[in-house]
Every structure is written in C-alpha cells, then in structure tokens.
Amino acid sequence: MVKESETILLKGNEAIAHAAIRCGCDGYFGYPITPQSEILETLALEKPWETTGMVVVQAESELASINMVYGGGAVGKRVMTSSSSPGVALMQEGITYMAGAEIPGVIVNVQRGGPGLGTIQPSQSDYYQATRGGGNGDYNIIVLAPASVQEMADFMDLAFTLAFRYRMPAMILSDGIIGQMMEKMVLPPFKPRRTDEEVKRECPWAATGRSGREKNFLTSLSLDPAWMEEHNKHLQAKYETIRQTEVRFETYNTEGADYLIVAFGSAARIAQKSIEICREEGLHIGMLRPITLWPFPTQAIRQLSERMKAIMCLEINAGQMVDDVRLSVAEGCPVCHYGRMGGMVPTPEEIVQQIKSQLIK
C-alpha cells in the first residue's frame, strides 16, 4: 500500500485504477483492449474487494460492461468502466440509456487511432463522439480531459462527483500517451466507500429496494411524446446549468501574447514544449487548455480571442475541437488547425514549424 502523500512513479492507466480504489468507487466493469488494459490488470492485482469491498468484474464485452455500469449506477453506487476507442463506440448504447434514465457513472476512454480497429497508438479522434453525446437522442455527457498522470488520478473523484451531482454519465477522455506514460505523481487521499444507508440518503431516486417510500423505477422509455418532450426539456435545462457552472480550463503564458494555441490532453503537453522553444526564439505564444471538453470553455476562448492576432487549434486528429474554437472566437479572429492522424503524434519542433508557417503569417 502506498503511503499518504508519497510521490511515486506510475503509468496513467495504473493511476486511474489506484485512484478509483481510493475515491470510494464501488465497482469496476471492463473488457480488455489496448492501450488501457492495465486498468483492469492493476485492479485485479490490487484485489480491492478484500480491502474496500469494491467489486471488479471482467465482462464479456464492452456492451455488457456499460450495461453493468448502468445497473450499478441505477442502484446508486459509484461504478465505472474503461475502454479504448472501438470499445467506447460499442458502449454508446449504454451511455445514451444512462443519459435518458439519468443514471450516473464514469467511463474512461484511453483513445487510440481510428476509424474502425484503427491502430493501438494514441489519438484524440473521439472528440466529436465524446462531446456530442455519441449515441442516439439529444444529450450530452460531462467530458474531462487529463493532460498528466496526476490528472488521471485527480479526475477520478471529480468525475464521480459531477456524475452524481447531475445524475448523468461523465467521461475521462484520455489517450494512449497519458495512459501508457509514467510520471511522478501523488495518489489522492483515501476516501471510504459510502455505506448502503448513505447511498439511500444521497440517492433517493435509486433502485435500492422499496423501503419507507414509493417504488423507484429507472427508465429512458415513455410512449407519451408530450411527457418525453418535457423530459428532454428537463435534460436540456440541466445541461445549461452545467454549461454555466462546470467549465474548467487552464491558461499558460497568455499574458501579453499575440497568438494563442488551444489544445487539450496530451496535445497540450506537447504544445507546452513548443511554446518554450518559441520563447527562446523570442516568439510569445500563449495557450488555453480546456479541461472540460463538454462543457466547452467558450467564453474564455472568446475573451482571449479579442486580443489575439490568430489562434491555432492543435489536436491529434483531423480537426474536431477546432469547430468549437471557431464557434467561440470573436469575429475576425483567424483560426487554423494542425493535427496528425492514425496514431501519429506531432513533435514539439513540428509544431513550432506550424506556428511559424500557419499561425504567424
């Protein structure tokens, strides 16, 4: 067992597993897929069912995994799954049912290149899928994008907190770089699992057994379109509250900068290095890193764009978040994009070149 506040060296995937055990997670349900299998492997090694009582199940598919999360969330427990891009595509059924039935749960996506089986190398090409809901119907999920092994661990408890605060799925959208790389980090402090009584009190809506109240029933179905429209309005009002209150982002080097990079997750880590190289060459480039991809930091980007000559969106995909950046910026602020695809990752020098050729024309 790791001591409190001890600095240790961990892989991003291992950090997720350790953080889950320490943040009072009640259950993990998952299916192996590269590059995230260390999450289930670490949990199997740690045997949390003997210590905290956390349940760990290797499911028969991602479809089963997400429906186990649906079931675990429906009974008010803090449950999660993890997968990588093709597996998360398969999970979309369960995610939209969770959104419809207002069932909380956490999904970790350690992205790899696509489409289809694609590659096992890192990518950020599931941005659209994650931030537009991903499944059928009008819905959103909360999306957190960690840029370090430390954030992989720190976002675990945050994801559960947000998922339960709003009774909806929350996703940690990571990628093969953060999942596989090792970094120094400090695990979050230990927090016990909630007792069944605490769950009953905190989740009066959950199917915990009909005791001292009317029956509870969780569903995403109604054959009455008028009711279903009201339900959709309720969901949209909830999403609007989240857009107003839960936006998270970080800025770097923006004071006095004329040009801005917008990048999330591992792309932001690479961009940070590129910005340092630029500084040595006398170029002042700032960066905004969205931490929540949904809700998107629209206002912050708009405000910064008012004093920027141009913005470059750096992603490890064909250009997805750049749409949201273009929708955010003040009129007249040019926006360009640079990205690599299929599992290829840009180098800091490559980005510096793009800064010089695309951003500062």
């Binding site: 429906a74 009974v75 049912y97 199917a207 029933f217 569903t219 995403s220």
Partner: protein
C-alpha cells in the same frame, strides 16, 4: 348463508397480491405475462423481500412490468438485463435481483449477456417467457419460433434453410457450470401455475443463498401474435410447443450432489 357470510377473509382462496396494484394491464386477453407477474408479486411478499428486491425489465411486452408490481425496478436496454442484474446483485449481495425477459430479449439480442451471466454464476434469477414470437413489435419471428410456424417475418412458415432452427437456450443454460437450477414450466392450468410458483420460489431462494444462477423458462402463449383465441392458443401450445420445449427441471444442483459454486466474495 348470505353473500356477506361467504365474503370473509377466512374463506379467501385467491386474491390480488398486495404488491400488485390496480393499474389495468396492457397485456392481451389470454397472455401468460399476467399470471407470471402475479406469482412474482406473491413470492416477493411471502418471502419477505419487498424491501430487498429489484426487478430488471426487458424490452418487449414486459417493458411495462414495473407498472403492475410495486417493487423497485430498472428498465434495461434490449437484451442487457442480465448485465444490469449482475452489477446490482454484486453491489447488493443480500438483495433479490431478478430479470424478466422474453425470447427475443434473452435468446436473440441478449444471448451473450444471458450466457455469460449464467456462466459466471451470478446469484440472480432469470425469468424467461418463451412465446416463440415478438409480441410487442407485432408478431415477428423469434429465435424460438418453431419450424413451420408463421409470423410476419416468416409469413410462409419458419424454414431451417432460410431462418435456422428454434433455439433451445434453456438446454444451453443447463449445461453451464454457473447455473444451479434450470427449469421449464408453463402457466396454462392451475396445476402448471402451482409448479411454476414452486420453481420460482426455489430460484429466488437460490439467489438469496448465493448458490449461483437460476433460470426458469415459462413456455407461454401469445394469442394476438399467434392469431388465435386464448383457448386455441393453449391447445396449440400443448400440441406444438411442449414436444419441442418439454416441461420439467433440467438441472438442480441443490438436489443432486453436484459441486456448488465456490464462494469467493
């Protein structure tokens, strides 16, 4: 003797279980669902499990089962009820968690979830209503539709070369190490209803005692889907369904001395 003398609690031989409410059922006349619902409501109450019971609804006619029985329910996606139940049971090991599924839900779109839940030995009860047709969507071919049987998607009768064979998933379930009790029953006579109730009680007990997975199939009628009167449907079921889906216990490890699932939680 007056009418009032006769209507006394001591003379009551049958009634609506207290867990069943007054909501008018959406099921068609002659449908087996109502009878099985009543048995579930009776058993949950008799076994004192109302406060520790969660039912998982399927997609299909029984998607509205929650309307009639006053326990907590979760509505699952089509075929995924066993996965939902697996999580619920592992998180509440001392609760009765059961799924209620039709043939399309359990034996077609949810085959993987069904087999793997049974094979893991999840301590749940799966109640399987097999009426050999898709009732909710209007009478299409099911995995359990008999050869020669006409449905809207095999209007000239099910043919093995075009549609494959009717699936005996309950026999598959009995072959899995994780199941402790697998039984096939019906509810078309009073005696059959009593036998089904006994089977369901045994299954619920197994679930509460962590003996592994139990599956109770109820060979059922769908008079609307079969385009028959309820009486004709019962006769047709006896003549055609029972020879292919014979009634009785297929497996009971609590009776024979087969090894029980090792407890490791």
């Amino acid at each position: 003797m007056t009418r009032e003398d006769i209507i006394q609690p001591s003379n009551l031989v049958a009634g609506r279980p207290t867990l069943m409410n007054n909501t008018p059922m959406h099921y068609c006349p002659g449908c087996s669902h109502g009878v099985v619902h009543k048995l579930i409501a009776e058993l949950v109450e008799e076994m004192g499990l109302t406060e520790r019971c969660v039912g998982i609804c399927p997609v299909g006619c029984a998607v509205f089962a929650h309307n009639y029985i006053d326990i907590d329910w979760i509505e699952a996606a089509h075929g995924r009820a066993p996965a939902v139940a697996c999580a619920a049971k592992r998180l509440y090991p001392n609760h009765l968690i059961f799924t209620y599924q039709g043939d399309g839900d359990l034996a077609c779109i949810g085959t993987a979830e069904t087999i793997h839940s049974l094979n893991r030995g999840d301590d749940i009860t799966i109640i399987f209503i097999n009426n050999a047709i898709y009732g909710m969507t209007g009478g299409q071919m099911a995995p359990t539709t008999l050869l020669g049987m006409k449905t809207s998607t095999c209007p000239y009768g099910r043919q093995s070369d075009l549609h494959g064979f009717p699936l005996k998933i309950t026999e598959i379930a009995a072959s899995l190490e994780g199941t402790c009790f697998v039984s096939r029953q019906s509810v078309h006579t009073v005696a059959a209803i009593n036998r089904t109730k006994r089977a369901l009680r045994h299954a619920f007990q197994n679930s509460m005692e962590h003996r592994g997975a139990s599956l109770v199939e109820v060979v059922s009628t769908c008079s609307s889907g079969w385009k028959m009167t309820p009486v004709e449907a019962n006769a047709w079921m006896e003549k055609n369904m029972f020879p292919y889906y014979p009634l009785g216990d297929l497996k009971d490890t609590t009776k024979d001395n087969r090894p029980q699932k090792t407890e490791n939680r």
